[in-house]
């Protein structure tokens, strides 16, 4: 069965700094990959997705992610964070085997110091 690991439970950065949130997956083929964000007291919102093609995908609010098949990773990046980016970020995978089931990582809590 596939699994998703987000090795950093919490990340703290200063406003204006660059950001990388890590995600590694375990699956024999290339899955469909997602990053979701959860702001306080809200549901999850899709940030970006990767299905195929260019390994760097752009999302909303300046976020991007890079897929690496060799490393089985899908890390999320942002060049300059804002205090409003403080939230919980979830990486998720779908095996694409005609199933709608997503497997989520445990999430990374991002805190941005103003």
């Amino acid at each position: 069965a596939q699994s998703v690991t987000q090795p950093d439970a919490r990340v703290t950065v200063s406003e204006g700094a660059s950001l990388q949130l890590r995600c590694k997956y375990s699956y024999s083929a290339t899955p469909y990959l997602f990053w979701y964000v959860q702001y306080p007291r809200q549901g999850l919102q899709l940030l970006l997705k990767y299905y195929s093609g260019d390994p760097v995908v752009q999302g909303v609010n300046g976020f991007e992610a890079e897929f690496s098949k060799s490393n089985s990773s899908f890390h999320l990046r942002k060049a300059s964070v804002h205090w409003s980016d403080s939230a919980v970020y979830f990486c998720a995978v779908n095996t694409g085997a005609n199933t709608g089931k997503l497997t989520f990582g445990h999430g990374t809590i991002l805190r941005v110091h103003p």
């Binding site: 997602f34 709608g100 997503l102 989520f104």
Partner: protein, 113 residues
């Protein structure tokens, strides 16, 4: 666009009580999901419904029942609430079973006294 509404926002129950959470979506999506979110554990799938008359158990279905009353609504019942249980229950929907993008509601926060 559309929206997913979950009621209630907060639910406080007693041990052993049967509790029902409701979810409505106006996306006209075929597929709906219920997840449980525990702090530090990510989201775990409880039940899902591929189409209006379908019901499937997820990875965490024990202790729960679900009901898809109509295409737009999906309810979850905690059959016997456990003392000291605290979690957020998230409802989601997708266009259909082959659509990988899921849209989430704001959640119901459950506390069991």
């Amino acid at each position: 666009g559309g929206i997913i509404t979950q009621t209630p926002k907060f639910l406080i129950g007693q041990e052993g009580q049967k509790l029902t959470l409701k979810c409505q979506q106006n996306f006209n999506h075929d597929t709906m999901y219920w997840y449980r979110q525990d702090s530090g554990k990510g989201l775990r799938l409880i039940y899902y419904s591929i189409t209006e008359n379908d019901l499937q158990k997820g990875d965490l279905s024990e202790g729960y029942d679900a009901s898809r009353e109509k295409k737009s609504s999906f309810s979850l019942t905690v059959t016997s609430a456990q003392k000291n249980e605290m979690a957020v229950f998230l409802c989601a929907s997708s266009r259909d079973w082959g659509s990988y993008e899921q849209y989430f509601g704001p959640g119901t926060r459950l506390t069991v006294l």
